[in-house]
């Protein structure tokens, strides 16, 4: 009985188009260009094709994709957050306050809310930047709950009722395409960022923070910058949704905004951002299609999270990427 093993080999076209930058046929050009073009085309065309109801679903899908990418970015630096709702909620409240109390126009309250919310979240998390792994996660899990309770207890900013009657977008095309553009910008921006020197430092902090320190780099400053960047993405989601709903309240700190992005990133595959996008575009419409499940939605998400972490920890994106670039065959093991 001879033994066999599975061998993975790069496809010829991968070898031809991967390293040598002299693409000689349309086939090779398409091989390189199609995967990154898919999300671009999808996000430009989908708003035109979808009926109104599914446009709303597209909005929440893109929001969760953004949150998942921001989670993924923080995870790249070794900061595993269990509370993306912190960024979302702070961004939402900052934008809401600027609109409700100061009367800022929408094109001012969204960017300012984004920056202010993220800065606030960074300041709140500054003392715990020294913590690693599970301890950092616990703090992030606790913080959104704490903000929710504080708002409930102090009744500031409308308390349990929240702030209502905020300004909305001029029309829903602006709403849709602004989000599409931001999502694409974040996707390709973060992918590019991770290949720069700064991205290298970030990855090194995740892998071995002490050796980065010994290289003379102030890792707390770098971590704070990364936190602010990732926080900006999350806070933008909050500020944007505030104006979509024309409302901001305690649900902005809800567990959904922490757990769904996490599920999307894990299902899609961590570390590539495209995986997070893909995970969100699988999970959110899926739960929407199973409309009857309603309250079961969180159950569905948490179960998919568990199943993927246990059964396919690499995620769908990595799996598909492997199939795209490589083929597999069974070969005899030489005795």
């Amino acid at each position: 009985m001879s033994k066999r093993r599975r061998e993975r080999i790069d496809r010829g076209i991968k070898a031809r188009s991967g390293d040598i930058f002299a693409l000689t046929s349309y086939r090779e050009m398409l091989y390189v260009a199609v995967p990154p073009l898919l999300p671009v085309i999808g996000l430009i065309v989908l708003p035109l094709l979808l009926p109104t109801y599914w446009q709303k679903v597209l909005i929440s899908t893109a929001i969760f994709a953004l949150l998942a990418m921001s989670w993924d970015f923080l995870a790249c630096v070794g900061m595993i957050s269990l509370g993306q709702a912190l960024f979302f909620g702070l961004g939402a409240y900052c934008a809401g306050i600027m609109d409700h109390y100061w009367g800022f126009p929408i094109w001012l309250s969204i960017p300012l809310g984004t920056v202010a919310g993220s800065a606030l979240a960074t300041v709140v998390l500054l003392p715990v930047l020294r913590l690693r792994g599970v301890y950092f996660s616990m703090v992030t899990l606790v913080l959104p709950l704490m903000f929710e309770r504080i708002i409930e207890a102090t009744r500031v900013f409308g308390g349990t009722e929240g702030l209502t009657g905020l300004k909305s977008f001029p029309n829903h095309w602006v709403e849709l395409y602004l989000l599409s553009a931001i999502t694409l910008g974040v996707l390709f921006g973060l992918r590019r960022l991770m290949t720069t020197d700064f991205g290298l430092v970030l990855k090194a902090i995740r892998d071995n923070d002490r050796s980065v320190m010994s290289g003379g780099i102030n890792i707390y400053a770098v971590k704070a910058q990364a936190l602010f960047l990732g926080g900006c993405i999350g806070a933008f989601c909050g500020a944007y949704m505030t104006h979509v709903y024309m409302f901001v309240g305690m649900p902005a700190f809800a567990l959904d905004y922490s757990i769904l992005p996490l599920a999307a990133a894990v299902v899609g595959g961590m570390g590539t951002f495209a995986g997070s996008l893909m995970g969100a575009f699988i999970l959110v419409p899926l739960s929407e299609a199973l409309r009857g499940v309603g309250g079961l939605r969180t159950v569905l998400y948490s179960l998919s999270l568990v199943v993927f972490i246990v059964a396919l920890p690499e995620g769908i994106f990595h799996y598909m990427k492997r199939k795209y670039h490589q083929f597999e065959r069974w070969v005899e093991v030489e005795q």
């Binding site: 595993i80 792994g133 996660s137 704490m146 309770r149 972490i309």
Partner: protein, 290 residues
């Protein structure tokens, strides 16, 4: 007024200690994450309620079955989920948290909310301590809390199994070389912790109604007590429970019940910033922060 605060603060602290013991046994002493702890606590309550009211079992039988069912669920959680991601701390946290979330939200979806979901008290009536009425159930809670905390201390310091629990937290491989089957012990630890959660639920829940949200509160309280007390220390759990318990009671009387939960959250934050290994924690003093 002061007397009431003192007595009820004491009871509140015992409840915290009771609720945190199982979490401390699993997460603190054996180093295995079980963030489905709150869900197990609530589940035990609902299982006992269903057995009592739908199956019409006597109370003691319902309680025993609930405890064993929860312990069984803990064992299954370890065998089918945790075992496969053992050692990847973050995956452990995410996976168990996901399981807990699924259980809790499933109960919410099935409509287990309302005032009819209550467990019966062990014995009715109340006694006077000084000028304060204390009902019997709260005395039971104090009794169980003291017994369990003492029992846990003796268990982890003077039995082979208990010492094995502490062994695998310190070093998996060394304990393996001393004949401790680390995987099996970790599984038993999760089952024990879940059983303790169920026990705490049976004793504590008769005070009020069983609600899904309590699952999150219990998890946060248990985490707060374990982190403040320091992982792996039974004494730490008791001291932290009293610190947080009285702090909660005082905030409750001074600023109202809404602030009560914030105390545990703030306690977690402060201790993690100042001394992440906790007041009495000795393990991993250097590893968790840079």
């Amino acid at each position: 007024m002061l007397e009431v605060t003192l007595i009820y603060g004491f009871i509140n602290s015992t409840i915290l200690a009771l609720v945190a013991l199982g979490f401390s046994l699993t997460f603190g002493i054996s180093g295995v994450s079980n963030f489905a702890y709150g869900a197990m606590y609530v589940m035990a309550g609902y299982v006992a309620w269903i057995l009592l009211n739908k199956v019409a079992l006597p109370f003691w039988a319902a309680a025993v079955i609930a405890v064993f069912a929860t312990a069984g669920l803990g064992a299954a959680l370890y065998r089918f989920v945790l075992l496969r991601v053992r050692g990847l701390v973050i995956s452990e946290v995410i996976a168990t948290f996901g399981v807990g979330l699924a259980i809790l939200e499933l109960f919410r979806y099935l409509g287990f909310t309302g005032f009819e979901y209550t467990l019966p008290v062990f014995s009715d009536g109340s006694i006077m301590i000084g000028n304060t009425y204390v009902d019997h159930q709260r005395l039971w809670i104090v009794g169980c809390g003291v017994a369990l905390a003492g029992g846990l201390y003796l268990f982890t310091h003077h039995t082979r199994l208990g010492l094995a629990f502490r062994g695998i937290a310190q070093d998996d491989r060394t304990s393996l070389s001393l004949g401790i089957h680390a995987d099996r012990i970790a599984g038993i630890s999760v089952a024990f912790g879940s059983g303790l959660a169920a026990l705490a639920a049976i004793v504590v829940l008769p005070r009020g109604t069983i609600s899904v949200n309590e699952g999150y509160d219990v998890l946060i309280n248990a985490m707060a007590v374990c982190i403040v007390g320091g992982l792996g220390s039974t004494v730490g759990v008791v001291v932290a429970a009293f610190l947080i318990g009285y702090a909660q009671m005082i905030t409750d009387t001074v600023s109202g019940p809404h602030w009560k939960m914030i105390v545990s959250l703030v306690a977690i934050l402060i201790i993690l910033v100042v001394k992440p290994s906790g007041l009495f924690g000795k393990q991993k003093e250097l590893e968790e922060r840079i």
